[in-house]
Subunit: 188 residues, 2 copies
Amino acid sequence: MGRWEPDTRGRLERAAIELYLEQGFDQTTVAQITKHADLTTRTFFRHFADKCDVLFVGADELRERVAKTIAAAPPAWSAFKAAASGLNIAAAALQIRRDEAQDRRKLIRDTPELRERELIMFASVAETVAEALSERGVEDRAARVTAEAMLAALRVAFEYWGEHPDRELPQLVDETLDELKDVVGSGN
Amino acid sequence: MGRWEPDTRGRLERAAIELYLEQGFDQTTVAQITKHADLTTRTFFRHFADKCDVLFVGADELRERVAKTIAAAPPAWSAFKAAASGLNIAAAALQIRRDEAQDRRKLIRDTPELRERELIMFASVAETVAEALSERGVEDRAARVTAEAMLAALRVAFEYWGEHPDRELPQLVDETLDELKDVVGSGN
């Protein structure tokens, strides 16, 4: 991004979300977004692959932070605890940008195309977690199961956050992980 | 289906899978499938929404069986155990049609469009499991967490089955559920 384009990406994001919320995701075109942000369509496609992409653009960065957090967890920690620390970092990052994250959630929940995209995003986070655990020496299947169980908890906590926007996401994640321990522990 | 169309659906399924495996999913058209099955395109679309649909057409029926199994589990069983019994039924049904199920897995694994479709299918199974547990009186969040954890285990067992086609899926599901108990149990 050139110096003459301060926060172009952020402007496009805000314009897109505003229009999606106002008139619906399906009804909004890229041309309308760029007009609203006073930028060109070419600029839009320099930052985003399509109009879904605007809503998931932070995911790569978040995934990287999750991987780094898991890698940095004390070697003595269990796979579950190391993975949970990654999850907590993601939850904290989302909590900081709460209003924006909640707007996104609302849009995703109401739009089938975006829900599918979210499933793909979650699956890629699970892969990242599994890889990060493997690199800690966790056996392959245990790494995959832990990663998938973490994502299961994140999905549920996320949904709850959408329904109870005044709760704190990191706390909801902790509660959901406790719930997971309870239900799995009472398995027999 | 009329009496003059014995197993039309099965013929279309087999023709489709044969061509997908032979020449690739993306390269195969509905016209080729119907020609291969000696049927018309109109007949194809009476049975399937699109060429993805052929590979997921048993999912609704399986979901129904899972729901019924969970509903029929002894009232004293924990949410986890009831959900696991549903999962085991699904695994047994897939094991019976092993070769076909394995062909499908191969195709899904190698085709991004089908992987996305599979994620959607898994998400809908999770919803079914959560609903079936709610109807047993399991509290909402516990039901969702249990359902998502089950699907996490199913996903991993399924992947393993693809890599080790000679193993039995029901046993892989059991092993994965045990693994889940281990990793979650050693959470602290």
